[in-house]
């Protein structure tokens, strides 16, 4: 089938054309038998719709939709072709000639069974060229004005249709209702034959409207005069116009174009009878619905297809004109909304959000409400969690501090010893010096030596106090780089006297290079002190040689390992995990928070703490602290 146009073009001989036609029939029937071919091809039901204008014109789109929806329901096997003559963009004799030649060639082998013409230009074109194009096909016309039909009368018997009746009365009544103060109607028509036909109709219609309003006809004037007159109008008037094709000077317009100029100039609201004028500045009018017209045409075409005699067709009931209103213009001219009747089709009215999306709005509101509820819930939850986190952090901080105070309490004896030792020495030295001076038995060197000793002891005492204060002060958590070696040696210093008091030994083995991790130096020191005190507790009752605790720091894969090893009895395998739980204790004194706090502190440094039993004896506690993020291997130093 797709090859057909080429075949047709090449075979110019009538015989060949005949052969081709036979071929088409043969192909069509075989295709029908095979059931693969489009239904239209087989049945011959072919409807051609000629539109006056562009395919995108709203009136055309509506009419096309009406025709297709109706015909497909009535004749499912009918084929519909559509041609858009594209007036008024292309006009002139050449165009018409070319167009008709094109259509003739195009539809030579598949002539339409019925032709529908939509609009006055298509009607005029087909009436002029019908005998060259589709002489056999009956014609159904729509949207051609009554004036035009009248002008073309008498029509052939196989040309039927309902002329487009301009609802003058309906439109004027609509205008007068919308503008209560208006008593004067200005009717504008043009100078062409069509325009004159309109004018005649309107004058008749106006005469029938009696005393409703006074009518003024601006018929066949120059555009300038029309515009001047319209500009002088006030709200006491309304303007009615179908637009015009030509003014007195012979200047041509398309009706919509003419209307557009008028509405811009007019001091009174402009009404018109065509839907196509909506958007050109008219407020509204009683307008014909092109979709309905399309449906009516399809009905008539369908009847003809199944064999009805076109002449026998009673003209389809006239499509009721639809009152329409351009909401934008209505607002501009202050049409009170309560005067707009319900059956008026209001165009370009932004429906209120509620009207347009009632269900969606309800659903969305529901969703929003739920979401808001959820969000506020989450916010409350988040705040609560944050507060809890802060409280937890504070609690942890307080707990860690309390734990350090407990440690300090435990170390009171040894710390007092450490401070009193140098204080005692200072006092004795001072008194000795005094005595020596009194007796005059001393040399300057001796005195200087004494003074140096006093100074050194003073430093010693204050150093002990400094370390103790560092351990006890309730300062903000620090997050700074520090050397783990220093933390364990500080811990050892704090523990020195306590180790001695318990007659134990503490061996500290720092790594050869600095082990810099990030965190709170004091907290890690606290963890080490805690582990050493635990180790000494575990070995307190053992012979002195087993009361040895070894603290070792080493660089390992990914961080630092601090181990605290004792020579006690070790941890029963079943308790290796449990030992870090709160309130787990094997000691007679103590509430079992030490290791639990140690674990919390280590984990707050993103580290790990665990215990294993030594190969021969004792327990080894390990604290792993990761290198600072991003520091890489350089943090390990060299």
């Amino acid at each position: 089938m797709t090859l057909l146009p080429y075949i047709v073009n090449d075979l110019r001989v009538p015989l060949a054309r005949l052969l081709a036609g036979a071929l088409v029939v043969a192909l069509a029937s075989s295709a029908c038998a095979a059931g693969e071919q489009g239904a239209g091809g087989a049945s011959g039901k072919h409807l051609l719709v000629l539109f006056s204008n562009n395919r995108l014109l709203p009136a055309n789109v509506e009419a096309d939709r009406g025709i297709r929806s109706k015909l497909q329901g009535l004749q499912p096997d009918a084929e519909i072709s559509a041609e858009f003559l594209d007036y008024p963009r292309f006009t002139g004799e050449d165009y018409i000639r070319t167009l008709s030649a094109y259509l003739r060639e195009k539809y030579r082998e598949r002539p339409p069974q019925v032709v529908v013409v939509a609009g006055q230009d298509a009607f005029a074109f087909l009436m002029d060229n019908r005998r060259h194009l589709f002489p056999a096909a009956p014609v159904v016309h729509i949207a051609a004005s009554a004036a035009q039909i009248e002008a073309a009368a008498p029509l052939p018997a196989d040309v039927v249709g309902e002329p487009l009746n301009i609802d003058f009365r309906g439109t004027v009544e609509l205008a007068l209702r919308h503008h209560a103060q208006a008593r004067h109607v200005v009717v504008v028509t043009g100078a062409s034959a069509f325009d004159r036909a309109y004018e005649a109709q309107f004058r008749r219609d106006a005469a029938r409207m009696g005393e409703r309003a006074s009518f003024e006809f601006l018929a066949g004037l120059s555009t300038q005069d029309v515009l001047a007159r319209l500009a002088a109008l006030d709200r006491g008037s309304v303007v009615f116009t179908p637009g015009f094709f030509q003014d007195r000077e012979g200047r041509s317009y398309f009706p919509r174009e003419a209307v557009s100029i008028m509405t811009k100039a007019s001091g009174a609201p402009v009404y018109g009878p065509f839907e196509t004028l909506i958007g050109a500045g008219v407020v509204g009018g009683s307008m014909v619905n092109f979709f309905d017209m399309g449906q009516e045409a399809a009905e008539a075409a369908s009847a003809i297809m199944v064999g009805a005699e076109p002449a026998s067709l009673t003209p389809p009931p006239r499509a009721p004109a639809q009152a329409q209103l351009d909401w934008r213009e209505a607002r501009r001219w202050q049409v009170p909304p309560h005067l707009v009747s319900r059956d008026t089709l209001v165009r370009f009215k932004e429906p209120t959000f509620w009207e347009a999306h009632r269900r969606e709005a309800l659903a969305a509101t529901g969703v929003f409400a739920l979401q808001a509820l959820l969000i506020s819930g989450l916010l409350v939850e988040r705040q609560r969690r944050r507060r809890t986190e802060i409280a937890l952090k504070n609690n942890l901080f307080q707990l860690a501090h309390a734990s350090r105070r407990a440690i300090a309490g435990e170390l009171t004896g040894s710390i007092a010893h450490e401070i009193n030792q140098p204080l005692g020495a200072i006092l004795s030295n001072a008194v000795a010096a005094d005595l020596m001076l009194e007796s005059g038995s001393c040399t300057r060197e001796e005195l200087r030596e004494i003074l140096q000793d006093i100074r050194r002891d003073n430093m010693r005492a204050s150093e002990v106090i400094r370390r103790l204060r560092a351990l006890l002060q309730n300062k903000e958590l620090e997050h700074a780089p520090f050397d783990v070696n220093e933390a364990i040696s500080d811990a050892a210093h704090v523990l020195r006297a306590e180790v001695q008091r318990r007659q134990a030994q503490l061996v500290v083995l720092p790594a050869p290079a600095p082990l810099v991790v990030a965190g709170d130096h004091i907290q890690i020191q606290q963890v080490v002190i805690n582990l050493v005190l635990n180790a000494m507790d575990a070995t307190a009752t053992l012979p002195p040689e087993r009361r040895a605790v070894v603290v070792q720091a080493a660089s390992v894969q990914g961080g630092v390992d601090v181990s605290v090893a004792d020579r006690g009895a070790g941890v029963p395998p079943a308790k290796l995990e449990q030992i870090f739980d709160s309130f787990f204790t094997t000691k007679s004194a103590g509430i079992g928070l030490g290791l639990s706090i140690a674990r919390t502190l280590v984990e707050s440094h993103h580290g790990r703490i665990w215990v294993e039993n030594g190969p021969q004896e004792g327990a080894i506690f390990h604290v792993f602290l990761p290198w600072p993020a991003g520091a890489g291997d350089s943090a390990r130093g060299t």
Partner: protein
């Protein structure tokens, strides 16, 4: 007491020890220093008038342990404890075991000197007592067997007639022996003899206490 008393300072803390030595030296004492209890035990003090300033808390055996070790010696020196931190239990046990005082550092020099003078007084008395007992022992050992028998009978409160009868000697001979005993023991009266006997018995008892291994074989003081 022609020789100056010796003060033994036992403290592991170098600086404190040095300062004490300076103070004591400036106060006219002779001093000796020890860095640990073991150091003190390994370097026995000459038997001289003096006392010990002992730190409680030291590496190795503590001051309290040294105290109990010294208590077993024949002539223990009085001990003054010095401690950096006085806890009740160690102060109680120290005082019970006979310490002169238990002082907390830093010690006021006056307090220390007072304690030292009390310790030296106690040492002086103890030395005097020990010297007396020694003399008594010497005199007692100079008695013949028969004279010791007479001494035992006298201090048991028996009359001359009874003693003479029991020993199977004449009353007159007994009287002569009795005069010898009094003379050898430098006793002025029978009451003095009773006092000596009591002294010897007590000494015997403390000797036994110091050597617990001999507890079971405790000799009777009345029958030396």
């Amino acid at each position: 007491m022609s020789v100056a008393p010796v003060i033994h300072v036992v403290d592991d803390d170098h600086s404190l020890r040095t300062s004490l030595l300076r103070l004591l030296g400036a106060s006219g004492f002779e001093t000796r220093e020890y860095v640990s209890t073991g150091d003190f035990l390994l370097n026995p003090a000459p038997d001289r008038h003096g006392c010990v300033l002992l730190d409680v808390c030291m590496p190795g055996p503590s001051g309290l342990e040294l105290q109990s070790a010294l208590a077993r010696q024949q002539a223990p020196l009085p001990i003054i404890f010095l401690t950096g931190h006085a806890d009740v239990s160690s102060s109680v046990s120290a005082m019970k075991a006979g310490a002169v005082d238990f002082l907390t550092k830093p010690v006021e020099p006056e307090v220390l000197m007072d304690a030292i003078s009390r310790a030296l007084e106690r040492d002086r008395l103890a030395r005097a007592a020990r010297a007396e007992t020694q003399q008594l022992h010497a005199r007692f050992s100079a008695l013949s067997d028969r004279e010791r028998e007479v001494f035992n009978q006298i201090v048991a409160g028996k009359l001359n007639k009874q003693i003479a009868h029991e020993l199977g000697i004449a009353e007159r001979t007994l009287k002569a022996k009795r005069a010898h005993v009094m003379l050898k023991l430098k006793a002025g009266s029978v009451a003095d003899l009773g006092k000596f006997a009591e002294q010897l018995r007590r000494d015997q008892f403390t000797q036994t206490m110091r050597e617990p291994s001999q507890m079971h074989a405790r000799p009777q003081a009345s029958a030396p």
